[in-house]
């Protein structure tokens, strides 16, 4: 349930960029998902085909890159992965602080295709500019 509205949002953003380039369809969407973002890539994938049906994203490939969260040690500056029930730095034992690493949740890029007539028109527009 949590990922359904987010999947709709992903498709909306991909379509917005596709339309900007007069694409006829979205071939793939590259998503960056931090493991602390609160979103599960596999759940997004589960909803994706259903939500994308009939849209410019229908049949698009979802490429998901996961990012593991890291803490930063305020004492020695080490970035590290935390162990369960602990925030301790493995280098010096001080208490690590949260960072933005692992919170990522964004669309990195989309690959779009344009049929030849549209492509020709776009190239002409570009020449006219």
């Amino acid at each position: 349930m949590h990922e359904l509205p987010i999947t709709e949002q992903i498709i909306k953003i991909a379509e917005k960029h596709g339309r900007k380039f007069r694409a006829s369809r979205i071939e793939s969407i590259r998503l960056i998902v931090g493991e602390n973002s609160g979103f599960i890539g596999e759940s997004i994938r589960m909803y994706f085909d259903i939500v994308a049906a009939g849209s410019m994203c229908e049949g698009a490939r979802l490429e998901i890159e996961y990012v593991k969260p890291k803490l930063k040690c305020p004492s020695c500056g080490e970035f590290f992965y935390r162990k369960p029930l602990s925030f301790a730095c493995p280098a010096c034992g001080a208490c690590g602080e949260p960072t933005e690493i692992g919170r990522e949740f964004y669309i990195d890029s989309v690959t779009v295709s344009t049929d030849s007539a549209d492509a020709a028109r776009r190239n002409k527009d570009r020449r006219d500019i």
Partner: protein, 226 residues
């Protein structure tokens, strides 16, 4: 023949939610309404906390938007106490988001300013991920949930601006390790004040309400000076 190309997007998927949240926040600030996003697990005591806080919120009007998956039990209880409350039912969704608050805030009249408490869905995970236009996030947790919660649900503890540790009247019956709780909490959040409260006796709520009221004064609209 197809022309295939890769387009760099680099767009945060929360952007639209955050834009609406910023609009709500600006609108509330203009109306001198201080918005508090009340988060906590189911049964932590969020609604009882609101009843005590509103009682102690001397001289400030209080408004409540109640978020629940189903039912209006909490809204009815608050209205029975004379609180201006509005119910949102999400029917399955595990958190409130900015568009929901944008739509429901229209149902409350904020003519006199004050404090708007938005009670999020009982859940220690997702509510912390979505801005809903609040000025502060208030986390209600209780000693019966166990002292390991900051380690298991770090985001809610990290994002909180104020934390109420509830049900402290039950401490004599529990093995709640307060030092372990505070160690985990302070690793994530150095600044948020922690108020030890009891929804049963009302202990600790006067000080918590005074802290919120003092924060609320900081957002007074610049127009007030004219």
């Amino acid at each position: 023949m197809h022309d295939v190309r890769r387009i760099d997007v680099m767009e945060n998927i929360h952007d639209e939610n955050d834009r609406i949240a910023a609009d709500i926040n600006a609108d509330m600030t203009k109306k001198n309404v201080f918005a508090v996003n009340v988060m906590g697990a189911p049964g932590a005591g969020k609604t009882s906390a609101l009843k005590w806080l509103i009682r102690e919120m001397k001289g400030l009007n209080s408004y409540v938007i109640e978020g629940d998956i189903e039912s209006d039990i909490d809204t009815r209880a608050l209205r029975a106490l004379g609180v201006n409350a509005f119910q949102i039912n999400t029917f399955g969704a595990c958190h409130l988001d900015a568009p929901m608050i944008h739509d429901s805030a229209r149902n409350l009249s904020f003519d006199e300013g004050g404090v708007l408490f938005i009670e999020n869905i009982g859940n220690l995970v997702c509510p912390a991920e979505f801005n809903i236009g609040e000025h502060i996030k208030l986390l209600v947790c209780s000693v019966t949930e166990g002292c390991d919660k900051p380690y298991k649900y770090p985001l809610a503890f990290e994002k909180a601006d104020i934390i109420l540790l509830n049900k402290t009247d039950l401490l004599p019956l529990l093995d709640f390790d307060g030092d372990f709780f505070m160690k985990g909490l302070r690793a994530l959040n150095k600044d948020a004040p922690v108020f030890r409260v009891s929804g049963k006796t009302g202990e600790g709520y006067e000080a918590a309400a005074a802290w919120i009221a003092a924060e609320a004064k900081k957002i007074r609209s610049p127009l007030d000076n004219f």
